[in-house]
């Protein structure tokens, strides 16, 4: 492996560790957005949740965390459907969103 490739691999490992370490706090934050959204119907919280899930979805696979990325992607799709008004008050959708976040916690 060349020096450049070594440096890239080390960088990936380092950033991946940081990403993983930050995940519990981020998932707490996302869960809080979800609760706020459900409780107050606050669209801004919904947008923040969607953005957070999208962000994790986009990055997780790069850091070798495919299952986390898949769960975030599932959550993102659900949040988008609710935000778009396709499932505005459908209990199973909210519940599935909770499940997606809990699933991410377990990974």
């Amino acid at each position: 492996m060349s020096n450049g490739e070594n440096a890239k691999e080390q960088l990936l490992q380092e950033v991946s560790r940081e990403f993983r370490a930050a995940m519990p706090a981020r998932l707490d934050e996302l869960a809080e957005f979800l609760v706020q959204w459900m409780r107050d119907g606050d669209g801004a919280s919904g947008e923040a949740l969607l953005c957070g899930l999208h962000s994790i979805h986009g990055a997780a696979a790069l850091f070798g965390l495919d299952a986390l990325g898949d769960a975030a992607g599932r959550g993102e799709r659900l949040a988008r459907r609710i935000l778009d008004g396709k499932m505005p008050s459908n209990v199973p959708e909210w519940s599935a969103l909770h499940d997606a976040i809990n699933c991410m916690r377990r990974l």
């Binding site: 450049g4 950033v15 999208h54 962000s55 850091f63």
Partner: protein, 276 residues
């Protein structure tokens, strides 16, 4: 008509009024000469030098035109549009309200290409338009400057350091304030990697606003998108994106897309595109 070369202006040079110039246009007690003021009005709305020369021929000789342009440039009332930065008034406008959506004709024109784009995104993870950048971009910079607009901190950090290992100079911006600060820098970045979904901004809106801005309209933009839908590709193509990269992306694809859009001749993709 005397040659206006003392101010080193080419007919193709594009000028725009600066923030300072705009304020001067609105003042009742401007200190500009009448000629410079007339020229400033001609430049307002952006104009190339050939157009300014033609329009000013009724009231100014070539020598007077050169004097007037020198007064405006030296006083900071107008500048080459390529050197213009985002100015305070424009900054507010940059993020206020929605940008103009691509015109219907642009969407129609991009229709066929969007199908190719979606297919390529699904197959290769990236798609760039085969539209070669301006000639000056083909000159070898020591390090091309890439602005990464990405809100995921780990990903932004990774991208910045990865691009630096690959020989680029990279900067990151994750929110409106940082985006504006980075886009105001002179000269503008050589390329922007633009996430579509940001906490307080929309990537497509940023793209549309960039394409409307005189100092940023020629900066190549690669969209980073988690979804390779025809709708999003069509919107980006019609709005002037130079390419797409899907998330999660392969680092090799990212580098290939960047080098292609920058027109690096050593890139195999560019060599194929340039081949007779």
């Amino acid at each position: 008509m005397p040659d206006p070369s003392p101010v080193s202006i080419l007919d193709s040079d594009l000028f725009a009024v600066t923030f300072h110039g705009n304020r001067e246009l609105q003042r009742a007690d401007t200190r500009l000469s009448l000629l410079a003021l007339k020229l400033l009005v001609l430049i307002d709305g952006k104009a190339d030098f050939a157009t300014i020369r033609e329009r000013s021929s009724r009231f100014a000789s070539g020598e007077e035109l050169a004097d007037g342009m020198r007064e405006l440039l030296k006083g900071g009332y107008a500048d080459y549009s390529s050197r213009l930065v985002m100015e305070p008034d424009n900054l507010i406008d940059f993020f206020s309200g929605d940008a103009n959506e691509p015109p219907a004709q642009a969407l129609k024109d991009a229709h066929e290409e969007a199908i190719t784009g979606v297919t390529t995104l699904q197959q290769d993870g990236y798609y760039v338009r085969i539209a070669m950048p301006p000639a000056e971009r083909l000159r070898q910079h020591s390090r091309d400057r890439v602005l990464i607009i990405e809100d995921e901190p780990s990903l932004a950090k990774f991208l910045r350091q990865f691009l630096e290992i690959e020989g680029f100079t990279a900067a990151t911006a994750s929110n409106r304030e940082e985006i504006v600060a980075q886009l105001r820098r002179v000269p503008p970045p050589d390329l922007v990697l633009l996430d579509v979904m940001l906490p307080d901004a929309d990537g497509f809106n940023i793209l549309f606003k960039m394409r409307e801005h005189p100092a940023l309209r020629d900066v190549p933009v690669l969209m980073l998108t988690a979804k390779a839908t025809r709708e999003s590709v069509l919107k980006g193509l019609a709005g002037g994106a130079n390419g797409y990269i899907t998330k999660p992306f392969q680092t090799d694809n990212l580098i290939a897309a960047i080098r292609t859009v920058l027109g690096r001749r050593d890139d195999p993709f560019v060599q194929r595109a340039l081949a007779p």
